[in-house]
Symmetry: C2
Subunit: 333 residues, 2 copies
Amino acid sequence: MSTTSHLTIDLDKGGMNTGHLIVSKGADSEALSLPVFSLNKGAGPRLLITGGCHGNELEGPSVARRIIDWLTGAQTCGRVIIVPELNPLAVQAWSRNTPIDGLNLNRVFPGRADGSVTERIADAISRLLVPMAETILDLHSFGPMWEFPPASTTHPIADADLMAKTLRMAEAFRFPMTLVWENDETPGMFDTFVQNLGKVFVCAELGGGTVGAEYLAIYEAGVRNALIALGLVEGKADHPTFRQQKSSQTLETLTSDWLRSPARGIFEPRCSVLDEVKQGDLIGILHPMNSLSAGSVDIRAPTTSIVCAVKSGLHVEANDGVALLGRPLNRRP
Amino acid sequence: MSTTSHLTIDLDKGGMNTGHLIVSKGADSEALSLPVFSLNKGAGPRLLITGGCHGNELEGPSVARRIIDWLTGAQTCGRVIIVPELNPLAVQAWSRNTPIDGLNLNRVFPGRADGSVTERIADAISRLLVPMAETILDLHSFGPMWEFPPASTTHPIADADLMAKTLRMAEAFRFPMTLVWENDETPGMFDTFVQNLGKVFVCAELGGGTVGAEYLAIYEAGVRNALIALGLVEGKADHPTFRQQKSSQTLETLTSDWLRSPARGIFEPRCSVLDEVKQGDLIGILHPMNSLSAGSVDIRAPTTSIVCAVKSGLHVEANDGVALLGRPLNRRP
């Protein structure tokens, strides 16, 4: 048997086919077998959907499997490849990074065939799956430490044409929030690697906090909307209902829009996501744990903005991000 | 200076006083200084409020500090001692147990003066604070891995009179759910230790999942209701609003009411807390991670019941609890 990473599935075969992406063994681990689902209805858009890049963001794996069930009856053309769990080692540990080598899969792309296990996963995806699609939807979330609305996100892209195509794809989810998110920590990201190939990549940050039934239903509806917009399925897109409302807004946020904790202590959130805040409104309170009285510190909005993300109540270090603010996207012509 | 655990605060002094519970140093750690707040308005009920027993249940510490602010103006009689964070080491690590010795503070009561650090914390609380109150409210939650409604809970107590007094105290919060919860894992619990002294102990399990602003407001309202019921504050209790409703129900659940995962894999919740389910209704789905198709397993309600808790979507082992079901309390005469 081959010891290099390979696929055990024929992606050109018609209909629904299943197999594995085998990630080669290395000094630090045995080979991994990642389930792969191919739904092939011939000519048309070629899409790759991935989940479980970070092991504590489990909206993606569940929604990916729901979409497999749905597509089996609904797909009319094109090919969709779905990998529900990119990083089974992190998923089993409920951790962002891979426990074996401590690496963040979303910072090591395109990976290395002779690297540690996380780098070998990235290499197998980059070489064997990314070439098979023009559009990639990577189903992330903000994880258990944040409140975050159902949202699709993209980072700013220098190529204006690709930026416009990517934004259209992100807005097709019709989630309560579409977010264009400046991030200065992009080297090695799956996004950047794929976008540099000229392909459309939407990194859905499907929510945060509890992975519950209500949110999962919204996520599934959003991903269905995206597949309808791509033309893979016939149907009519609809806004999912979030907090008794059916509405969407497209926001942007800069690296300077992070509110950070002024000290070490317990962060107490005092706002919710999608709240509109004015300068001076209370975002949260920081309680230094050793303080006996007046030590609590108010954290206030520096300017009129919309709350994109707010940290769950937990212990934070000085300078940790506790909220991400944004504003309506300024669409350049 | 004394090397045994002690208080740096005079609890008999009138008004608001602050100081520390010093937990003695030992072979495994330096001494700890836990902030203690005493609000003393003379004769009347004597109450102890504690939070932060488990370090990933941070509703309690925030609500405890809110109650300090509120009581400062509102209290009319009696004495309230508040310790927002019982286990600062676990809080800083966002972990249920203490990282240094791996122990669960809520399983080592009454502790040991010469034990490891978790046992020394329990010993200091047991000897120095528990004797100062007849009623104890310990502010827990279900933590980040669960969806759980704002609720006050107690375990069944053999002494019928103490059971009735404890249940009245639990219901005084007017939370959406009051839960009498059979638990066969009681040795070393703070609850059991205090109840064996004939005192009232309510272990509020204030929620689960994200520690967000909306839930924190409900929790604070519930704890205020309890303090009004005790007569420490004059005022009128009101049901907090949860999901657009103001209602309360008292449920009971048995150890046999846990639904457990049939296998290892990703649990996908398909119901929400306080849902009424009938026999055969879908509670969740278990996706074995290596399965390629028909491997997903439905987890269904065995009987008509109400969902008290449901696990967040995450990787579980075979036999892990994924939902806790209950039914209206059968009040024995």
